[in-house]
Amino acid sequence: MIIGITSSVLLWYGLVQWTPFKAFNRLPDPLSVIIEWVSTDPDYGLSIFTKDYYLHILYSTYRATVAFFLALILGVPLGIMMGWRANFNAYAGALLDFLRPIPPLAWVPIAILILPGDEPAVIFVTFLVAFFATTLNTLLGVRSIDPDFFRAAECLGATDQDILRDIIIPGALPTIFTGLQIAMGAAWFSLVAGEMIAAQYGLGFMILESYNLVQYPTIIIMMATLGIVGYASSALIRVVGKKMIRWREQATGIGQEAET
């Protein structure tokens, strides 16, 4: 593993520094990126010792978090309702299927137009992808519940509400968490694009801005930071999911590892 990473970094360095290919020579090499990243006095103004670096992270994280939680509190109940009530699904499902082929990022201009200001627009497109992922996975989760569980509950005298509380919600929970992880990934994906197109702060904005200002090492720093923050956020969801779905953890504890 170490060898793989080291040799890849060396390859990168070599390609940039020692080959005659212009395409590679234009890229920043890993050494200058790392020096810039940990410098107390960075050439281009951003390193782990500057306040602005964290400000960009904070902005992006804030947007992703707001969008994610909006998607969570709207998408999960919507998906559950769609799985619980066939009639409701007939309305909502048709509308979702109708809107879904439009890629989330195609909503950026219209979001800027309709919503007051760029900030809500960026959050909106980020929310939108997360929302679709959450809703559809929640619905999938409800659909994947073994029909015998519903029958068993009916036999035991459960009412419709009991079934919602005791079968549908816990039964769909594992899939909901898978959906939330996907939603988080998709949220970062959209956020970067949204920030590039219409924001003044944030990691995505800074990536494009650094390009315009010819501060190439900063681009790589920001890309790497994005990767770390994105990875950490989905890891966090995974941990919360494991805590909340204790029964599953113990049931499949031996045997196969849950793949994500």
């Binding site: 035991l156 009412t159 049931a251």
Partner: protein
């Protein structure tokens, strides 16, 4: 009240019509499950045994004919009494709620029916676990943590706590090895002796059917109807050793003859359908 619980099935016909091609699952099917008796139903795969069980449970309704519980109409072509705790099903693949502990699973019925509070229901569930052979130690486990045999016992207890009039067992021991199966038979016999619910057991295993039941119903291949009605007059309480008795062998011969004739028919038809 739990002494009642006789099911009478009369002239049931069921036609599935998924896409124009009418499939006659059941035709002119009549039988009785007398109160407190153990009835086993055997027959080739796809003969409509499960369809019949689903109708009794209230998951499905017939094209014509009717099913009564203690002289009360349960289902017919235009009535369908929704499932309730009078007739509880134990499913083929098991349907313990994996997200609830064993104790919560067993106590579930009384809690949702609001006949008892949570505390009392769980107390009763604990007692039941004890009576079923010192199972209290697994009360806090999740179903995924206990063996499949244990899961079946818990599922049966979850049904019993509701004092059902009829217990409907849909091939519950199908996926079990011989040793666990024979243990389960003993448990089921004990339960039947202690609680005396009417039981309908669907199975493929003739030995199991004869050993456990008072009446063995052999079904024909599709369209399903009752072919033979074998009365098993082995004394109760029963034990595994009875398998070796002449009486048992004689019953087994009768059953095998009936079942194999139907199995052959089903097989030949299957070949024809494929061709």
């Amino acid at each position: 009240m739990s002494q009642a619980g006789s099911i009478s099935v009369s002239n049931i016909q069921k036609i599935y019509d998924p896409e124009g091609a009418a499939v006659h699952a059941l035709e002119n099917c009549s039988c009785e499950i007398p109160s407190g008796k153990f009835v086993a139903m055997v027959g080739p795969s796809g003969c409509g045994k499960s369809t019949l069980l689903n109708m009794i449970a209230g998951f499905d309704k017939p094209t014509s004919g009717e099913i009564k519980l203690d002289d009360q109409l349960l289902v017919s072509a235009n009535t369908q009494t929704p499932p309730n705790s009078d007739r509880v099903v134990v499913f083929q693949n098991g349907a313990l709620f994996p997200w609830k502990t064993v104790l919560e699973n067993i106590a579930y019925g009384p809690i949702v029916q609001k006949t008892r509070g949570r505390g009392q229901a769980e107390e009763e569930a604990r007692e039941l676990l004890n009576k079923a052979g010192n199972l209290e130690r697994i009360a806090g486990s999740f179903p995924g943590q206990i063996s499949s045999g244990m899961q079946r016992r818990v599922e049966i207890l979850r049904a019993l706590i509701n004092k059902p009039k009829v217990l409907l067992l849909d091939e519950p021991f199908r996926a079990m090895d011989t040793v666990s199966k024979s243990k389960m038979h003993q448990h089921l016999l004990d339960i039947h002796d202690k609680f005396r619910p009417s039981i309908l057991l669907i199975t493929h295993d003739l030995v199991e059917a004869i050993l456990l039941a008072d009446v063995v119903l052999v079904m024909t291949t599709r369209p399903g109807t009752i072919k033979v009605n074998i009365n098993v007059e082995l004394p109760r309480p029963r034990s595994r050793e009875m398998i070796l008795s002449d009486e048992f062998t004689e019953l087994q011969k009768q059953a095998i003859a009936a079942v194999h004739e139907e199995a052959r028919k089903a097989f030949e038809r299957g070949e024809k359908e494929l061709a």
